[in-house]
């Protein structure tokens, strides 16, 4: 039976030099504890997880570091540049992230999730700073995964600037609103995958629940990056499992080719042969 299913192993997606076994990329922020984070990451089936770069708390609150809870051989770490509001800062933070991952000999030392944000209120990405930082980071040899708005023209410019992947927001970070403008995501895909069907497009930010993830995949996106939806769910473990399943379900539905939408019915049961007419 299973041979019917996995034509090519459809769960793999290639971003730059990285081959991801899961289309779900999961963040490590906002969990109740490092232990809970560890369990949710494992349940999610993700093999790429994102982290942020912050000042060492020197006088350490509890003396524990997230890295004590991350199996560096199992996970490829994708450092982000969260907290940066200019290209210059984003480049600095990317370098620092790479330095740490090189020290840790983690496979994630050659890429970065570029976030250059507009402001703290909405955490929406700043198109100008993002584009600028993308160019610099590409020059410095980074594989850059750009968190961006769903503006298709900007997405194209980021790809032209060398981005390894463009990651349009479904809706603002942590807003839980899912994909607010499927139309724009479709146009992004047209531009980004024109004569380049395998160019990776990941929906990042705003996903709130399983159906959002499935919907993103049904649009043809290559993956989904999320954090808040799992970490802040009432039961993060269950939601991590839900997201894993939804990501696979959405991908399979996309690959399967859904039925068209019509105003109304076509009978599932044969019309003729009824005893009544």
């Amino acid at each position: 039976m299973s041979d019917l299913l996995n034509t090519a192993d459809d769960n793999e997606v290639i971003i730059g030099t990285h081959t991801l076994k899961s289309r779900l990329i999961v963040g490590t922020g906002k969990y109740a504890s490092f232990e809970q984070m560890q369990e949710c990451l494992e349940i999610s089936g993700a093999d790429v997880i994102t982290v942020a770069v912050r000042r060492e708390r020197l006088v350490d609150a509890d003396g524990r570091n997230i890295l004590d809870f991350i199996d560096l051989d199992k996970y490829t770490i994708l450092p982000n540049t969260a907290g940066c509001f200019s290209a210059e800062d984003a480049v600095r933070v990317a370098r620092l992230g790479r330095e740490i991952l090189r020290g840790l000999e983690n496979s994630g030392s050659d890429w970065v999730k570029l976030e250059a944000l507009g402001d703290t209120k909405t955490l929406l990405p700043d198109p100008v700073a993002t584009l600028e930082a993308c160019k610099q980071l590409v020059d410095e040899g980074f594989q850059v995964l750009c968190y961006s708005s769903d503006d298709p023209i900007l997405a194209k410019r980021l790809k032209d600037a060398g981005a390894a992947s463009v990651m349009p927001a479904g809706s603002p970070i942590g807003s839980g609103q899912g994909i607010l403008n499927p139309n724009n995501i479709k146009i992004c895909m047209e531009y980004l995958k024109e004569n380049d069907p395998n160019y990776p497009v990941i929906v990042d930010a705003g996903v709130g629940t399983a159906s959002d993830v499935a919907f993103a995949m049904e649009l043809g996106c290559d993956g989904v990056l999320l954090n808040t939806a799992i970490a802040s769910a009432d039961s993060p473990h269950l939601m991590a499992d839900a997201m894993k399943l939804a990501c696979q379900a959405g991908r399979k539905a996309f690959t399967a080719g859904r039925i068209p939408k019509k105003l109304y019915a076509t009978a599932s049961s044969p019309v003729d042969g009824t005893i009544v007419k």
Binding site: R54, R55, N65, L96, I100, G103, A205
Partner: protein, 75 residues
């Protein structure tokens, strides 16, 4: 970090806060003093990354702005 050195000191900025350290300390000595797990950190001096290999021969100067960062949970 209690000050207990009997040589001339110089002042630097560490993670945004000013701090007195013995003159001619290298980055490596600073980090050791801070008991920081070197493997989990990266260091910047005046907005320039100082690769791990150069920590031991990077001599700190007055008013250097040092950033010692690590990885934390993030989206």
């Amino acid at each position: 970090m209690s000050v207990r050195y009997n040589c001339s000191m110089l002042s630097i900025k560490l993670n945004g806060e000013s701090r007195e350290i013995p003159d001619a300390w290298t980055l490596a000595e600073l980090l050791k003093d801070l008991q920081i797990n070197n493997r989990y950190c990266a260091v910047e001096c005046n907005k320039q990354l100082v690769p791990r290999e150069q920590h031991s021969n990077h001599v700190l100067k007055a008013d250097d702005e040092i950033e010692v960062v690590t990885l934390v949970g993030g989206g």
